[in-house]
């Protein structure tokens, strides 16, 4: 019998597989399809202080082995998430959930996290710093070590739950951002968010995405993500959650060998609604194939 259990900041996961934010809604679309309690946990849709419709459509474009999305953080706002989405989720998911939070100012982040801190169902806060900083000239919080650190301290001061800072790969030195978050008190780091990308419709000569550019993800980005997880996990001492292009149990093992303590699965859930479940089910056989008795032991094996 192989052991798929891993620890993520004091909470034991039955396995390291975590559907990524924005690809799993608030869980119950998938709960209609399978028992989502088979997952380690999942990260719910990026939640903001107030409700957002998001970007105009088209928001989706196809790429070779991947996709671009420019959803623009459509969500009902943190109060509605707490009042409506979490109670619905409670009926179908009995494990701590990862709360993914976004904001456009430091106060936004703190406000949203403070409310979610009171929710028993929330196990971790995953703080996405890839949104533009409206008070800082529109540059994303995640592209400036100082701004990322500021968000980290603000969030840490309003919550006792473990804070995982989710980093954008669209930077020159992701290691510097990760270190800044760690120094500011982050309990963990997750990466990568989507890579900036674009497509043009040859028939019209216009960008496919209404917003011109969007976030590129899917199997095509796996090597880019793996490299970043490897470098960041070597540079920081807090746990790292790895993601980007993961679509099989082998990918999960590779991410963990690169240094991830747990692994998120994003776009794969969209093209195959059963992807995360299939990965969970395939893990034991894949572990046996590579002579792995316990997944916890392989974290950072490649270092």
């Amino acid at each position: 019998m192989v052991n798929t259990k891993v620890d993520l900041l004091g909470i034991t996961l039955d396995n390291p597989v975590i559907p990524a934010s924005g690809t799993f809604g608030y869980g119950y679309e998938f709960a209609e399809l399978y028992d989502i309690n088979c997952l380690g946990t999942f990260s719910f849709k990026g939640t903001t202080r107030t409700a957002r419709f998001g970007n105009p459509t088209p928001r989706i474009a196809e790429c070779t082995s991947g996709m671009i999305n420019a959803v623009g953080l459509q969500n009902p706002g943190v109060e509605t998430v707490i009042k409506e989405e979490l109670p619905k989720l409670k009926k179908v998911f009995h494990k701590p959930v990862m709360a993914n939070v976004s904001g456009f100012s430091v106060e936004d982040y703190a406000y949203t996290c403070e409310l979610l801190d009171k929710e028993e169902q929330v196990g971790w806060l995953e703080v996405n710093v890839s949104c533009p900083n409206v008070h800082g000239g529109g540059m994303s919080f995640g592209t400036d070590p100082k701004a990322a650190a500021e968000v980290t301290s603000a969030v840490k001061s309003v919550t006792k739950k473990p804070v995982i800072m989710k980093l954008s790969p669209n930077v020159t030195d992701i290691v510097a951002i990760a270190r800044a978050c760690e120094e500011a008190g982050a309990d963990g780091i997750s990466l990568i968010n989507t890579l900036l990308g674009m497509r043009i419709d040859l028939r019209t000569g216009r960008p496919v995405i209404a917003n011109t550019v969007g976030g590129f993800s899917g199997p095509a980005i796996f090597p880019v993500a793996l490299q970043m997880v490897y470098r960041v996990s070597k540079a920081v001492s807090v746990p790292v959650v790895g993601m980007g292009g993961v679509s099989s149990a082998e990918d999960v093992i590779e991410m963990m060998m690169a240094g991830a303590s747990a692994v998120e699965v994003g776009a794969a859930n969209l093209t195959d609604p059963f992807a995360s479940k299939r990965i969970v089910e395939a893990l034991p056989a894949a572990m046996e194939k590579y002579g792995i008795a316990s997944l916890a032991e392989i974290v950072g094996r490649a270092h």
Binding site: G22, F53, G54, I60, M67, V71, D272
Partner: protein, 240 residues
């Protein structure tokens, strides 16, 4: 929703750049106005196609070849298997039809109306359909709708078949309700028709089952997902 492996039993041209594919297998429940989402080799995203008919376990789809996905579909031989998510979306509200519903379709918006017409006729309704195309070589299913017992009017933009012009030039009088599916300009033109009705929309989709928020549309009742609360929306919900 059901994920199924279906076998192609027929795949043949029907009109200019338009093909009909028939699939057999365990496709679950598929109502008029719902769609399926098809995984295709070497393409990342699935392709959404409306259910044109579903009878005796055979699913009929009619699609136009516009790009890589539908192009690849048109080359698939009978016997090939496809991974298909079935029974997606809300479907038409058959209960709203009244006695003499009008079904208005433009181009590849016509296919879902066939299944709808069939079910409405089973309920004893007097169904009239208006089918709009660009030209005679693109016309399909005129006879099939007649064979169901519908009153059929066809329009072509260039006048090469039926009434010259658009579907709005051939709308039936005294209809009790309407169901429409077609390109945006057609739906917009119909918005001014003083009749209760519902329309089917298209949007680029990431998942097709409500998980990604890729297909959202703003309505009078807030944001809706075309793939989940849609693709069919009541006329009075729509913002133009």
């Amino acid at each position: 929703m059901k994920q199924s492996t279906l076998t192609i039993i027929e795949n043949a041209p029907l009109a200019k750049n338009v093909f009909r594919m028939r699939l057999a297998g365990e496709a679950g429940e598929n109502r008029p106005g719902q769609f399926v989402n098809i995984a295709l080799p070497r393409l990342f995203l699935r392709r959404p196609i409306s259910v044109c008919d579903y009878e005796n376990g055979v699913l009929t789809l009619i699609y136009k070849t516009v790009g890589r996905g539908t192009g690849a579909m048109s080359l698939m031989p009978a016997g090939e298997k496809l991974d298909v998510l079935c029974g997606l979306g809300n479907g038409y509200d058959l209960g709203a039809a009244g006695q003499s519903p009008a079904l208005i379709g433009g181009g590849v918006g016509v296919p879902p109306l066939y299944y709808l017409a069939k079910e409405l006729i089973k309920k004893g309704k007097d169904v009239s359909v208006v089918l709009g195309f660009n030209s005679a070589e693109e016309v399909f299913y005129e006879e099939e709708f007649r064979a169901l017992g519908c009153g059929v009017a066809v329009t072509t933009a260039d006048g090469s078949h039926g009434v010259r012009g658009f579907v709005t030039n051939a709308l039936p009088k005294n209809a009790s309700y309407y169901y429409a599916c077609g390109p945006m300009p057609m739906l917009k033109a119909l918005a001014s028709w003083e009749l209760p009705g519902e329309m089917s929309f298209e949007e680029r989709m990431g998942c097709g089952f409500g998980a990604c928020m890729g297909c959202s549309m703003m309505t009078k009742n807030g944001a809706k997902r075309v793939c989940r609360e849609g693709p069919v929306f009541k006329r009075e919900e729509l913002l133009w």
